[in-house]
């Protein structure tokens, strides 16, 4: 939480300032109404984010990363891909945990297609990101729709990886 956090905050609030300026140039009414819309969203989202942050800590505590690594064993084939996809969705924590588990799986002999499936499934379905961010911000219908439509793609990624092989 040092330099990278600072860069993120600067770009974030910088973008807010630039867009706010653009809204202000359109007139005070535009600025006021967009700030009000954004604030209303914020007020409505805070309780959900609170539940997401505080809640996902408990869910993560029940699923320790060791369990996930176990599911990513070096068994190859489509059954390995399937367990990798489930493991990706069930991985607690942020990107460090997800990518580290992928790296460990590669080191202990996990097949590259399985690890690809794991990383892609983690990107698409990681439960903490969905609970903490996607469900609070997006319409519920969109989130479930997006998740359902994404199901084939970790398998597709594994299939492509099997066909083209690892360089």
């Amino acid at each position: 939480m040092t330099l990278s956090a600072l860069i993120i905050d600067v770009t974030l609030w910088g973008s807010v300032a630039i867009l706010g300026f653009m809204a202000w140039r359109r007139g005070r009414v535009v600025l006021v109404s967009s700030v009000r819309e954004g604030s209303m969203d914020f007020i409505n989202i805070v309780p959900r984010i609170a539940l997401g942050v505080i809640g996902s800590g408990y869910i993560a505590a029940v699923i320790p990363p060791e369990v996930i690594t176990g599911w990513l064993g070096p068994d190859s084939g489509w059954f390995g891909v399937l367990t990798a996809v489930i493991a990706g969705a069930a991985t607690p924590g942020g990107p460090v945990v997800g990518f580290s588990i992928g790296a460990v799986a590669l080191k202990v002999g996990g097949g590259p297609p399985q690890v690809i499936a794991y990383v892609v499934a983690w990107a698409l379905f990681a439960f903490q990101r969905m609970i903490l961010w996607e469900i609070p911000f997006m319409p519920a219908k969109f989130v479930w729709f997006r998740a359902a439509v994404s199901v084939p793609f970790p398998f597709l990624a594994a299939a492509i990886a099997m066909v083209i092989g690892k360089p």
């Binding site: 993120i8 905050d9 770009t11 974030l12 609030w13 973008s15 807010v16 867009l19 653009m22 809204a23 359109r26 007139g27 009414v29 535009v30 109404s33 967009s34 700030v35 954004g38 604030s39 209303m40 969203d41 914020f42 409505n44 989202i45 805070v46 959900r48 984010i49 539940l51 942050v53 809640g55 800590g57 505590a61 029940v62 460090v96 990518f99 580290s100 992928g102 790296a103 590259p112 690809i116 990383v119 892609v120 990107a123 698409l124 990101r129 961010w133 469900i135 911000f137 997006m138 519920a140 729709f145 997006r146 359902a148 439509v149 084939p152 793609f153 990624a157 990886a161 083209i164 690892k166």
Partner: protein, 211 residues
């Protein structure tokens, strides 16, 4: 709560037509959800209660409190960014011309709309606190589910931020590049699949933007 349009005090504001589409469609346009408690939240709350109970049985009250304080700390860190994300979403929904967005990213935008969504997701700076509010704002100003899916999936799969900050150092350059090349088609395919399924599920469809 304004379930319709935001009140527009000035009839002569720059957006005389707030919504280019007459609101006579059966399927309401996806509006940013303003329900504090939906059934998703109830399910998550129940799951959290069960898991907190499991932690309490395993680690006692100390374990429960330790996680609680850690997560409250995290919550305090996140919350200003959430505010920034919400403001970004509010500005984007107000600034972007609705008719142009629904032409570029709407249900009839074709492959081009999916490609624009994908490119936008790939270059969007920040984290989840920008990606999801911006995607929600695009939905409200006329993007369809397909383009928004392409954007969100592209942000998680090929967004450079996470790849550079975390994946490269941990998994190495070879693996990361290989993984990204394999992932390149996925946002467009997911968006296209989303459109196909959406049309089947909601045959009445979203309102057509005026030609």
């Amino acid at each position: 709560m304004d379930s319709h349009h935001p009140p527009n005090p000035s009839p002569l504001s720059e957006h005389p037509i707030k919504d280019p589409v007459p609101a006579d469609d059966a399927e309401p346009k996806p509006r940013r959800a303003r329900k504090p408690v939906g059934w998703s939240m109830i399910v998550i709350g129940a799951l959290v209660a069960v898991c907190a109970g499991l932690v309490w049985r395993r680690d006692g009250i100390d374990g429960v409190l330790k996680i609680l304080t850690h997560d409250l700390w995290l919550f305090g860190e996140i919350i200003p960014r959430v505010l920034a994300g919400c403001l970004l979403g509010g500005f984007i929904a107000e600034i972007l011309p609705h008719d142009k967005v629904s032409r570029a990213l709407g249900p009839n935008s074709g492959l081009k709309g999916l490609l624009i969504g994908t490119a936008f997701g790939a270059i969007l700076p920040g984290g989840p606190f920008t990606a999801y509010p911006v995607a929600a704002a695009l939905l409200t100003v006329g993007a369809d589910f397909g383009a928004a899916i392409a954007m969100v999936v592209s942000w998680t799969l090929i967004g450079y931020g996470r790849a550079v900050a975390w994946e490269l150092p941990i998994l190495g350059t070879d693996f990361t590049l290989w993984r990204i090349v394999i992932s390149l088609p996925i946002p467009v395919l997911a968006g296209a699949l989303g459109r196909i399924v959406f049309v089947r599920m909601y045959p009445k469809g979203e309102p057509e933007p005026p030609a």
